[in-house]
């Protein structure tokens, strides 16, 4: 039995959806041209007038926007409304330079919640669910985003935010939590703490679903979480610039549904900026079709993914993106080879004895880049024979080498020594920048 939040929209025939997108794009370009000096200048520079845009196929005539534009116009230079229309602000942490600020009108908040209401419904959540929101509440969009989406579908929300893990596990048991939304690395931490408390998630709680995102994670991590905790783990996607968390997989777990009536996704080759075909890897570009306060036109998110337009088994006609493969700016270049931390995670997760905690350290030895992957020794991995440990270490190094095409040092470290993260896991230390 498949439930839809907006059955008519979610199953809208593809040609009707395109018609809908065309109408919204025409309106959007006209709207930004007349409400934002930034956009007017951008469109004038690109020699595009609102009346040149007839349908969604004309989108490629529009210029891209980037995170740099948001920084350059900090705090509100790209807004299309004035402060009196804004009912909420969120801001990114700004670890690299200036933070970015996103504003929301009443309508923006409604669409954000609606997007999540559809998403949560698509993984089978509803009024009978108790949803524990373990994303951070505050300037970060995860907590409040999930919160209002879950309230919209009538679920009972527990706003635990992140941290205070033992208390989270007690509440999970006492309030009979059925779904948890948090980062995958935080859930792995919850699993560890639960084990230490003698709580078996599968046996001692009602938890059935996890909604995990806000950091890259692999299918292997999904399998491990599902195997060890007995829940279904779903991927959720969104970025603070677009609103926050917005889209998830449906129960079929075959890609994340992007609601095409609200957002128009494209995938481009980051070098040539030309669109790539369905099924080809490239950088995700999204145009917001309904936002008022801070609409984004062809926004280059920087996430690498694959677009799939085939209709999904669940009956939804909206396009899907495959699991995020990495970020164009997370990409490490080691000895001239492109490496994504997610590839390393993927290799490690395929080796049964290896635990989930690892760290990548890139250093320079003379003129050569040296990459080291630190892996924590788990009880499953430990042997009293040094030879066994060395064999495992060499096996990990060989697997990494064959996937990454770069030789990697593997260092076994004591359990509990690598940083555990409550938010985005810090998996990479690049010391070359200090040279």
């Amino acid at each position: 039995m498949m439930d839809y939040w907006d059955p008519l929209v979610e199953r809208m025939p593809e040609d009707e959806l395109r018609e809908h997108q065309s109408k919204r794009l025409r309106h959007l370009v006209d709207y930004v041209y007349h409400h934002s000096t930034f956009y007017r200048r951008r469109l004038d520079e690109a020699n595009v007038r609102p009346e040149d845009i007839h349908g969604i196929e004309d989108i490629t005539r529009l210029p891209f926007t980037t995170k740099q534009d948001l920084r350059d116009t900090y705090p509100m230079g790209m807004f299309c409304v004035d402060q009196s229309q804004v009912v909420r602000f969120h801001a990114s942490s700004g670890t690299t330079g200036k933070p970015t600020v996103v504003g929301y009108t009443h309508s923006d908040l409604k669409y954000w919640s609606l997007s999540l209401a559809r998403a949560l419904t698509s993984i089978g959540c509803g009024r009978r669910d108790v949803i524990q929101v373990g994303y951070g509440y505050g300037l970060f969009t995860g907590g409040l985003g999930l919160h209002y989406g879950a309230e919209m579908i009538g679920a009972s929300v527990i706003p635990t935010s992140a941290g205070n893990t033992e208390r989270q596990i007690e509440l999970m048991q006492d309030l009979k939590t059925t779904a948890i939304a948090c980062t995958p690395s935080y859930f792995l931490h919850i699993m560890e703490v639960a084990e230490g408390m003698g709580v078996d998630i599968e046996r001692d709680t009602q938890l059935k679903k996890g909604i995990f995102g806000a950091e890259p994670w692999s299918d292997e991590t999904r399998k491990r979480i599902e195997r060890e905790s007995g829940i279904d783990a779903y991927d959720i996607y969104g970025t603070s610039e677009l609103s926050g968390p917005l889209f998830t997989e449906c129960i079929h777990k075959c890609g994340i549904h992007i609601w095409g009536d609200m957002f128009y996704p494209e995938v481009i080759d980051p070098k040539t900026q030309e669109p790539v075909g369905d099924g080809e890897k490239g950088e995700l570009v999204i145009t917001t079709l309904t936002k008022e306060a801070l609409p984004l036109i062809r926004y280059r998110i920087g996430d690498i993914t694959i677009l799939e337009s085939e209709r999904c088994e669940c009956g939804r006609t909206h396009p899907r993106i495959m699991r995020i493969l990495g970020r164009s700016d997370d990409m490490l270049v080691v000895r001239g080879v492109n490496i994504f931390p997610s590839q390393v995670e993927d290799v490690l997760m395929r080796i049964p004895e290896v635990g989930e905690h690892f760290q990548i350290i890139v250093d320079r030895d003379g003129a050569l880049d040296v990459m080291t992957v630190q892996v924590e020794v788990t009880p499953q991995m430990f042997s009293d024979r040094v030879g066994d440990l060395m064999r495992l270490k060499n096996h990990i190094a060989a697997r990494l080498r064959s996937v990454l095409n770069v030789s990697t040092n593997v260092e076994l470290v004591e359990h509990g020594t690598l940083p555990r993260s409550m938010g985005k896991a810090k998996k990479v230390i690049d010391r070359r920048k200090n040279i």
């Binding site: 430990f382 042997s383 009293d384 040094v386 440990l389 076994l412 470290v413 004591e414 359990h415």
Partner: protein, 134 residues
Amino acid sequence: MIRSEIVTQISLFAENKPGRMYKVFETLMQADVEVLAFTIAEAGTFGVFHMVVDKPDEAYSALSNAGFTVSRTKILGVELKSIHDSLYWISKKLAENDISVDYAYTSMSKQKNPYLVMRVSDSERAKQVLDEGA
């Protein structure tokens, strides 16, 4: 004259950095565990500690609770009359019976006689062979 037995060995993983050995022995001291024999097998950035103690279960929980990755292995312990002759004789017996030795170390001489700890390919058979020969 030798006497052999199967004993529980405690092994643990430790990174090769200052203070780790201290942490191990501080933990055992606080748990009131006495170490009878001990060695460290070194492998570059890390080492594996091996030890035979008077209370293996207490040692195991104390070290685990201190955050170490610990294992327990059944291993061969042999009490020797004299090191020189016994080592020759024991190694000869094991060789004749096609038993290989992974690693070995000797006791801290707490007891009167020297004590040899050995990780061999087949502890049970090794014990049998040595007992028969003795």
